[in-house]
């Protein structure tokens, strides 16, 4: 078991013929991901790299190839349209890698998903990986290893750092999700904690947050009320100055709200193992799992 994606996931890549799309699709296929189709409007009927059929529309990709998950590499100005098309096509999982989509576009397209059987991860994220089964994203596959740790993170390279600290200690992962650094994202920490709560393979969750917004506080409230597994948490940005956007559009302390201190306090109060130093994540996971 795992969450979101597994060996049966049939992936369609939107924007497969672009530079980014091509590069990362190759990496995903090399990892073992089942990429069944690509979509680039106007290039329907061709074969990508001589092997993956390209369609003009998502509907065709779903009908003809049985795709059930979309991986999106469409440029920001056209990306909300691509996400909406993915929703319309009936795929159940959408992973949007694209960085720099206007917030209002994401807000509107996310609203359109309400009441539908679809879940989006991202945008502005490294994607989702279930080690050994399916990599839908741009993360380096070899650092991951199958095992009991679920991971949810707002950051890319910090995710790799945390995963590496675990893998080096021979502690593998069930599913790792980079949820993205934007103010509005498809899946929040709470959404994914709920899935991990139901996943028998996941024994512990690593939660990597950062300054900005109140998503970590909301996660803390959920952990306190319902989550049954141990959580190891790290919040980046204790030294970040207020009012400045720290790389990610969502990483900003606004009006005195969204500080690392508040988030760490809320998570601690919820019983999470909050680590002060990013270098302590792996060691803490090992200690909590008794390894």
């Amino acid at each position: 078991m795992s969450i979101l994606v597994n060996k049966d996931t049939r992936v369609v890549v939107q924007g497969i013929t672009g530079k980014e799309g091509t590069f990362h699709t190759k990496q995903c296929i090399d990892y073992g991901t089942n990429v069944v189709a690509g979509v680039t409007p106007g290039k329907g009927g061709t074969l990508w790299e001589g092997k993956v059929p390209v369609y003009n529309t998502m509907t065709e990709a779903v009908e003809k190839e049985g795709a059930n998950a979309a991986l999106i590499f469409v440029p920001p100005a056209f990306c909300a349209d691509a996400i909406a098309e993915a929703v319309d096509s009936g795929v159940e999982v959408i992973v949007t890698i694209t960085e720099g989509i206007p917030t209002l576009d994401v807000m509107k397209v996310k609203r359109s998903m309400k009441g539908k059987n679809v879940r989006m991860v991202g945008p502005n994220c490294p994607g989702v990986i279930t080690p050994g089964e399916c990599k839908m994203g741009i993360m380096p596959g070899y650092i991951f290893k199958k095992g009991p740790v679920g991971l949810i993170s707002r950051s890319g390279t910090l995710t790799y750092e945390a995963v590496w600290q675990c893998t080096e200690r021979d502690i593998g992962q069930s599913t790792c999700i980079g949820i993205g650094g934007d103010p509005i994202i498809g899946s929040t920490q709470v959404d994914l904690l709920k899935l991990f709560n139901e996943d028998p393979e996941t024994e512990l969750v690593v939660l990597i947050g950062e300054i900005g917004g109140t998503a970590e506080e909301e996660a803390a409230a959920y952990i306190k009320a319902e989550f049954t597994k141990p959580v190891v948490a790290f919040i980046a940005g204790r030294t970040a100055p207020p009012g400045r956007r720290m790389g990610h559009a969502g990483a900003i302390i606004a009006g005195g709200k969204g500080t690392a201190a508040e988030k760490m306090a809320a998570l601690r109060d919820a019983g999470a193992y909050v680590v002060e130093s990013p270098a302590e994540i792996g060691a803490t996971v090992a200690r909590v799992l008794g390894k």
């Binding site: 590069f23 990362h24 990496q27 920001p76 100005a77 720099g100 989509i101 206007p102 917030t103 209002l104 576009d105 807000m107 509107k108 996310k110 609203r111 741009i138 993360m139 380096p140 070899y142 650092i143 993170s153 707002r154 950051s155 890319g156 390279t157 910090l158 790799y160 750092e161 590496w164 650094g181 103010p183 509005i184 990597i208 950062e210 300054i211 917004g213 109140t214 998503a215 909301e218 790290f234 980046a236 940005g237 204790r238 030294t239 970040a240 100055p241 009012g243 400045r244 720290m246 790389g247 990610h248 559009a249 969502g250 990483a251 009006g255 005195g256 002060e276 130093s277 990013p278 270098a279």
Partner: protein, 388 residues
């Protein structure tokens, strides 16, 4: 992106949102001319800098004659204005907004942001205008009325009615209030704003509702579709190093410490700053060189970090994923050689081809200090900077 008050008011005018009569001036003579054109016998001279708290800092003054307008403008233009948002070094004032004085009956607050928890626009109103809204929110939250607007529905009249009744508006003023809010919503959404704030929003003795102040921030990611807004960028308001970094697509933010940081990825960059602090040091900057982290980017990164004379040591922390560490190492060695870097550089490379990368650094003949973990790297850079 932030804009000046006078620019926010230009956008307001475009949407029919009432603002006081006024104009921009860069000299005292221009200020007098603007006041003459406005007419009347009361004017306000307002410093135009991006920071809030201008009034308390002495950057907003009332004038009762044209001579006084000119005299106040000459005081304010060229002054270094210090407010709680500028930091102790203050901000040089280069232009003033001259506006008609109003007969103020009441000061209110009106603001709008995108609420991240509910994922929709929220408009907020309060009868406590003219004071800091964060203070009102902390001390008397019941005095802030909020309307969470369903973006699929848009600004239906009931949202505006809820706010206008909440503010105690009646009769004609009520109607003007509803119209003001509806237009503000339209301006916010059409221009991809991230924040709009009118503090104070005033009711005049004549019963009009006017934006006495105006603040707007915009979504950087949406500027491509708003060339008019993008053209409002004022490089004078930005740190010159940050402007320089932007040219090379580097995410750079200047901080107060003396340990320069170069990291790939925003989250890891923040975490690196944090761990430097844990080991007793102070980061000099936030710098995300991005996923690519090629030789050219690394070189520009070093140049920008080193243009700050206070930097005593540099920590390079790269987690190679798709980008290979040996490539990054080549970039670091080239840049360090080319720039003749005098301060110690601690390098930690992890991930793809990290061993090969470390070998390149060892064989470069340059004196890099290498580290294999984040903790070790932080400890070594703090030592190298001479703090411990």
């Amino acid at each position: 992106m932030k804009v000046h008050e006078y620019q926010a008011k230009e956008i307001f005018k475009e949407y029919g949102i009432p603002v006081p009569k006024g104009g921009l001036a860069t000299t005292p003579q221009e200020a007098r001319k603007v006041a003459e054109e406005i007419g009347g016998d009361l004017w306000v001279v307002k410093a135009q800098i991006h920071a809030g708290g201008r009034g308390k800092g002495g950057g907003v003054k009332l004038a009762r004659s044209l001579d006084e307008v000119e005299q106040l403008a000459s005081q304010i233009i060229g002054m270094t204005l210090v407010t709680h948002q500028t930091g102790p070094e203050g901000k040089l004032v280069k232009k003033v907004l001259v506006e008609q004085g109003l007969n103020i009956e009441k000061e209110l607050y009106l603001g709008m942001v995108i609420d991240r928890s509910t994922e929709c626009p929220v408009m907020m109103a309060s009868t406590e205008g003219g004071v800091e809204i964060e203070k009102v929110a902390a001390e008397t939250p019941e005095k802030i009325i909020k309307a969470f607007i369903d973006p699929a529905l848009g600004m239906l009249p009931f949202y505006a009615r809820k706010l206008a009744f909440g503010l105690g508006l009646t009769g004609d003023t009520f109607k003007k209030g509803v119209s003001f809010m509806t237009k503000l919503y339209q301006a916010f959404m059409e221009k991809d704003a991230s924040l709009a704030e009118i503090n104070p929003l005033v009711i005049t003795k004549e019963g009009d509702i006017i934006a006495l102040d105006a603040k707007m921030n915009f979504d950087d990611d949406a500027l491509y579709r708003h060339p008019d807004v993008a053209a409002m960028r004022d490089p004078d308001e930005e740190d010159p190093l940050e402007v320089e970094a932007k040219k090379y697509h580097l995410n750079f933010i200047k901080l107060d410490g003396n340990i320069g940081c170069m990291v790939n990825g925003a989250g890891l960059a923040m975490a690196t700053m944090d761990i430097i602090k844990i080991y007793g040091g102070e980061p000099a900057n936030f710098l995300d060189v991005g996923g690519a982290a090629d030789a050219e980017r690394v070189q520009h990164g070093f140049e920008i970090i080193l243009s700050e004379p206070g930097v005593k040591a540099i920590l390079v922390n790269i987690f190679g994923g798709i980008v290979r560490c040996d490539r990054v190492a080549q970039g670091i060695a080239q840049a360090a050689q080319h720039l003749e870097v005098k301060v110690p550089i601690v390098v930690r490379l992890e991930g793809t081809n990290s061993k090969e990368g470390m070998e390149i650094l060892d064989k470069s003949g340059l004196s890099f200090i290498t580290a294999s973990s984040m903790a070790e790297a932080a400890e070594k850079v703090v030592q190298a900077a001479g703090i411990k």
